[in-house]
Symmetry: C2
Subunit: 354 residues, 2 copies
């Protein structure tokens, strides 16, 4: 091998310092170009556009890159192209275990497709959420919003800028991933009816929650079908504490079976009822939603309508990544994932006290 081009000469006093390695870490395509004896742009092409350069030049460059432990500088790449190989996930509340599986699903899919996941928490505030989303938009290729609290219009505005996928809510014109509650709910209601229950209460979630409305719809229509009474009760907040506070209303309602907006409410409710001497499920059956982590820690373990949250996360990530890969001209349909009843101990035959 003869020294290709510009050797170390000319390094006398000229102001030529362009692209000089100053001891810092990281080789650049200029270093590779020097080693391989080609032009930097050729290196760039070899490394990003397959088939654009001849096989032997390709090999030459790849070898040099390997030898130098080359790693692209993501910023340098993002600057002219705008592509960042990163997407954001904003969850309504990191505290809420519902999102754990979503985060995991999205994270796994991201890594599998060589993307980086940036996570942010909206702390249940629509304002924080929007601010965070706006800030993120600058650094990501796309965004996933899990149970967003902001307006439909805000979401659509974001979606006009870069691909956005919504989880747990349907927004017109934006691709969504939503658990289809009907199957799980009708299984649950049928099971309750079969066990002798005649009146079912639904403890609702936050008033502005899209999903809570869907679930109530599902419960009402399933009850209608099974000829059961359905009554809707409000809750203060969708947490264990909120569940405790709803116990009084539940008892007052005279229902013998309760479905709650989520598992947290169900767990709190069960704790409070048991503390008051109510036997679950003999006197009251309780069914939650989501099958979150810990739903089976209770005694009796919680019966719940499982939403495949991990699947929602990975599904949303897949949709997003596909859009980023393709020209992005796909339709904005809704991906619906199945829910199912997980029958555990907190629901069962009604034992009428006499």
């Amino acid at each position: 091998m003869t020294e290709p081009k510009t050797p170390e000469s000319a390094a006398t006093t000229g102001p030529v310092k362009k692209h000089g390695r100053d001891g810092k870490s990281g080789a650049t395509i200029y270093d590779i170009a020097k080693v391989a004896g080609v032009n930097p742009s050729t290196v760039s092409r070899a490394l990003s556009k397959p088939g654009r350069v001849s096989a032997k030049t390709q090999k030459l460059i790849e070898d040099a890159a390997a030898e130098l432990h080359y790693q692209v500088n993501p910023f340098a790449r993002a600057l002219p192209t705008g592509r960042t190989s990163t997407f954001g996930l904003i969850v309504a509340d990191i505290t809420n275990p519902t999102f754990f599986d979503i985060i995991r699903g999205a994270g796994t899919t991201a890594t599998a497709r060589d993307y980086t996941l940036v996570l942010a928490d909206a702390a249940e505030s629509a304002v924080t959420e929007l601010t965070t989303a706006r800030r993120m938009m600058a650094t990501v290729d796309g965004l996933i919003l899990a149970s967003p609290r902001m307006d439909d219009d805000d979401i659509r505005a974001l979606a006009r800028d870069k691909p956005v996928v919504v989880i747990n809510r349907e927004v017109d014109g934006v691709p969504c991933v939503v658990p289809d509650v009907n199957k799980g709910i009708s299984e649950a209601v049928r099971s309750l009816a079969a066990n002798g229950h005649r009146k079912v209460a639904y403890v609702a979630g936050p008033a502005q929650s899209w999903m809570s409305a869907r679930r109530w719809d599902g419960v009402r229509s399933a009850c209608e079908w099974s000829k059961l009474d359905a009554v809707r009760l409000e809750s203060t907040k969708p947490t264990v504490d909120g569940g405790r506070q709803s116990a009084r209303a539940v008892v007052a309602s005279g229902a013998s079976a309760v479905l709650t907006y989520n598992d947290l409410l169900a767990i709190g409710l069960m704790q409070e009822l048991q503390a008051a001497g109510v036997v679950v499920p003999d006197q009251i059956s309780i069914v939650g939603f989501d099958d979150i982590f810990g739903a089976d820690f209770t005694t009796p373990p919680l019966t719940t309508v499982r939403s495949p949250l991990g699947e929602c996360g990975s599904g949303a990530a897949t949709i997003l990544l596909d859009r980023l890969a393709g020209a992005g001209g796909e339709t904005a349909g809704t991906l619906s994932v199945e829910t199912e009843l997980v029958l555990r101990g907190s629901s069962g035959r009604l034992i009428v006290a006499r």
Copy 2:
């Protein structure tokens, strides 16, 4: 106001297109410069170096920036400076609820200080962990490793490159945040001793877990002090399932009280014992570690040695951010956070069967 400098003239046929707004979103400092009638570099200074420009120029520029809804392009800034306003958090296993609070703590601190958190999961693999860490290093200013599985040397190697903080493990030469188990453990053991227990079992975690070793040390020495027998049992994995599997060994050990490496093990153990007809805490007291989400869902609710995980997360983030802000010459000490006993229903007086 008169039109400052270069008006729209000269836009005839010259190849002058530099920094032209091409309809894309986002104003640049060049746009601001034009509006404010100053040089781009002055805009840059006004926006990043406080006090470098005169008050009135500053105002002029800020107004223009506000009017144009200017937002810095993080990539353009990162390219020459290397600063990204981003740090990474790698957790050993996203599935494990222990990390939920850590993520939240770190996330909150990050946002509070205008940093972005990038999350990654190592899926309990030392190799994945190291790969992920290496890849992240290119895009972040610093790194937090929560319960890392990789070698001390690998961690130190990473730390040589950029600031690294470790949670739940002590590594020489690297700043660490570790819960000090002793206070919580001695409270637990004293409580057990006071309740008539004479023999305590410790169900250990993964063999290579630094923290499991610390906890066993703590249990042993606390038992010695309180004149109790201590026996160590191994577990298959630190999960609910692992806890179930350890039940047999626990019973065989003859201990009347058990501390487990973590809450998951404790919960599984309790479920299995109860299924076998053992009454908790009358016949066996169970104490977990961490006070994870759901630890109080069980019946009886779990007594546990709480580690302030959220504090660990935010503490680590604070250390990291302080280092990034300061020249980074601080010592690499260990930040120790206090643990405490959370006395719930799963531990109590030993009722000797007769």
